[in-house]
């Protein structure tokens, strides 16, 4: 029996279905991210777990107990908001101790727990400060400490890093993950940033327009996306329409250029139109090493992105991006030249439309 079970949860506002039949079983201590664009239903689902929205249909079970209709203040979940939501009239210590004082714990107990939490998030020197005296990153850490102080069963994070600048975002997300692992606490993290989701989650749920597109580990979602949306949203991707040439041998053709795919196409028929995706980093120059597929490509443009060099190619009539690691001593081809480009069978993904 999983620790947190969200089963067949649907949320409807009038005629608009915001979350459609969401199903997920989360194990204790697991870190799950809900990833998707704005309006995909990820925050609504999180809020249903928190109790701020009531599902139109379905059940939510936490550690065996049905919490679907429970009020938010009865649920023992810790919530972290994008806007920090620290109480402006209280100091850092008072904010962190709020949940415990509401539960009428003894003053000593509260003080001890507050000290524990303050050292957990490394804010020892700021205990008597007010929220307006702290930076965004510090405020979010107080928010984290406050949510964890009450020993919640689940930690819910609603785009907590979106309001922070890039460097803080990276360091704080690592901190959140470290603390989560240390305490062994179950967590759900909502974000629209795929890099965030990929870097810290045990599993990711990719969502789009209220539907679950794919659930899997970051590795699975990135390397083996099962839907066009998941493939496009997570990482950059080359997208092309293709035709099945030989189902038995998994051969497809993009604008007349033949590729062999690692995906089993026996279910398809010759002439079927499919969508094909190839990750830019899976393409390379055949002059370095020849793999299963070798095709001719015209170089259209070369962009220097720092650690990565992005080369825009044309194979047949379709544009492709090819990413290669920057190497100062590498001789790059000239624009307009025709080069041989290669990729493995497994790199050619055939997706459901």
């Amino acid at each position: 029996m999983s620790y947190l079970s969200i089963s067949h949860v649907t949320k409807q506002y009038g005629d608009t279905v915001v979350v459609d039949d969401f199903n997920l079983d989360i194990e204790k201590g697991e870190f799950v991210s809900f990833l998707g664009p704005s309006g995909c239903g990820k925050t609504t689902t999180l809020r249903m777990v928190a109790g701020f929205e009531i599902p139109t249909a379905g059940k939510i079970l936490l550690d065996g107990a049905d919490i679907t209709d429970k009020a938010p203040n009865q649920r023992n979940v810790g919530m972290i908001f994008q806007a920090y939501a620290l109480f402006p009239n209280m100091t850092v210590a008072q904010n962190i101790g709020f949940g415990l004082s509401v539960r009428k714990e003894s003053k000593e107990m509260v003080a001890q727990r507050v000290d524990e939490m303050i050292s957990l998030v490394n804010l020892e020197k700021h205990a008597t400060k007010y929220p307006y005296q702290l930076s965004g990153g510090q405020q979010q850490r107080v928010s984290l400490a406050r949510a964890l102080a009450i020993h919640p069963q689940v930690l819910l994070l609603d785009e907590p890093l979106s309001a922070l600048d890039a460097k803080i975002r990276v360091s704080l997300r690592a901190e959140i993950r470290t603390i989560q692992k240390k305490l062994g606490i179950t967590a759900i993290f909502v974000t629209h940033d795929q890099e965030e989701a990929l870097s810290i989650s045990d599993r990711i749920v990719v969502m789009n327009s209220g539907l679950m597109e794919q659930v899997g580990t970051p590795f699975e979602i990135y390397n083996f996306p099962t839907t066009v949306f998941a493939a496009n949203f997570v990482g950059s991707l080359n997208n092309a329409s293709a035709e099945v040439v030989d189902p038995a041998n998994s051969l497809i053709s993009i604008d007349g250029v033949q590729f062999e795919s690692g995906i089993d196409l026996k279910e398809r028929r010759k002439g079927d139109k499919v969508r094909v995706a190839i990750r830019p980093e899976r393409l390379s120059f055949a002059s370095e090493q020849k793999k299963a597929n070798v095709v001719d490509a015209t170089i259209e443009n070369i962009t220097f992105l720092g650690s990565v060099v992005r080369i825009q190619l044309k194979i047949g009539n379709t544009k492709f991006n090819m990413d290669t690691f920057n190497n100062p001593f590498l001789e790059l081809p000239k624009i307009g030249a025709i080069e041989q480009v290669t990729c493995s069978r497994e790199a050619v993904l055939v997706l459901d439309e």
Partner: protein
């Protein structure tokens, strides 16, 4: 309230900045005079209590009058009771309408505008009519009439209190704060008293002080309900004395000014906090 100087970068007119500044100050001066001259005249008049000499005789007589202090204290107590009741009704209402019942907002706003629509005379006679016969007999004794009066004052100060509280709620993102408090296990009472009220300090104070000003100076309703508050006392004074009314006016003005000063002072501290949080 500080006046921000016009920086050359923002000035869009072709006139040089100094001319523009001069123009602004001129307007400021003219408008100030419009207010200050009558005030100065009243003050001057109040100093003429003793024949041929400028003195505070009128003020002395005022404070010596045996019926002044009781009337004054009655008004103050009425004002405090009104503020207290008004806060108790308006804050939860504004909070609920903002959070849970946004559809009711137009209805509530309409209700808060009603006191402006009904003239005081009409209001007081309506009340007397309503409450002077069983089963709603509340005007039988002085004290029960006083309670009715306070309730009327609560209605009269609704617009100011509601607007003040509403603005305060918007400034503190009340929805997210409430959700945060709820996720930590707080019930409505705890949220209202430990999270909402403390963060509405400035809004509550300004609403309270506006209410104070209204109640202290109110005349018509108190008069027709035969209440001995400051309003009827002042109007009596104008009929029988020459210099004391001016002294009374200056005293009332000074009290109001002090009240506004308090809001400004408290407000500055709190708005600095709010600015810093927003700047993060």
């Amino acid at each position: 309230m500080t006046t921000t100087p016009v920086s050359p970068a923002i000035a869009t007119n072709k006139r040089p900045v100094t001319t523009q500044r001069l123009g602004s100050w001129l307007i400021y001066l003219v408008v100030s005079l419009y207010f200050l001259i009558p005030l100065a005249a009243t003050f001057y008049w109040s100093l003429r209590g003793k024949k041929d000499v400028l003195s505070f005789e009128a003020y002395r007589k005022l404070f010596a009058d045996t019926s002044f202090l009781p009337a004054f204290s009655q008004s103050i107590i009425n004002a405090i009771a009104t503020i207290f009741l008004c806060l108790l009704i308006v804050v939860p209402t504004a909070y609920w309408v903002t959070l849970r019942l946004p559809k009711l907002r137009p209805v509530v706003e309409f209700i808060t505008l009603l006191p402006f629509v009904i003239p005081a005379v009409v209001l007081v006679f309506g009340i007397i009519r309503l409450y002077s016969a069983p089963p709603l007999l509340f005007t039988a004794t002085y004290n029960s009439s006083r309670v009715v009066l306070i309730c009327v004052y609560v209605c009269l100060s609704f617009p100011y209190m509601f607007r003040s509280v509403d603005n305060g709620l918007r400034a503190i993102d009340v929805r997210t704060l409430t959700e945060a408090a709820q996720s930590l296990g707080a019930n409505w009472v705890t949220i209202l008293f430990r999270v909402i009220f403390p963060n509405l300090r400035v809004a509550l104070l300004s609403g309270a002080l506006l209410t104070f000003a209204i109640v202290i100076g109110e005349l018509t309703i108190a008069l027709y309900m035969a209440q001995h508050t400051l309003g009827p006392y002042m109007s009596d004074l104008t009929r029988s004395k020459v210099y004391e009314p001016s002294a009374m006016a200056i005293v009332a003005f000074a009290i109001t000014w002090a009240a506004m000063g308090i809001i400004d002072f408290v407000g500055r501290g709190a708005s600095r906090q709010a600015q810093k949080t927003e700047a993060e």
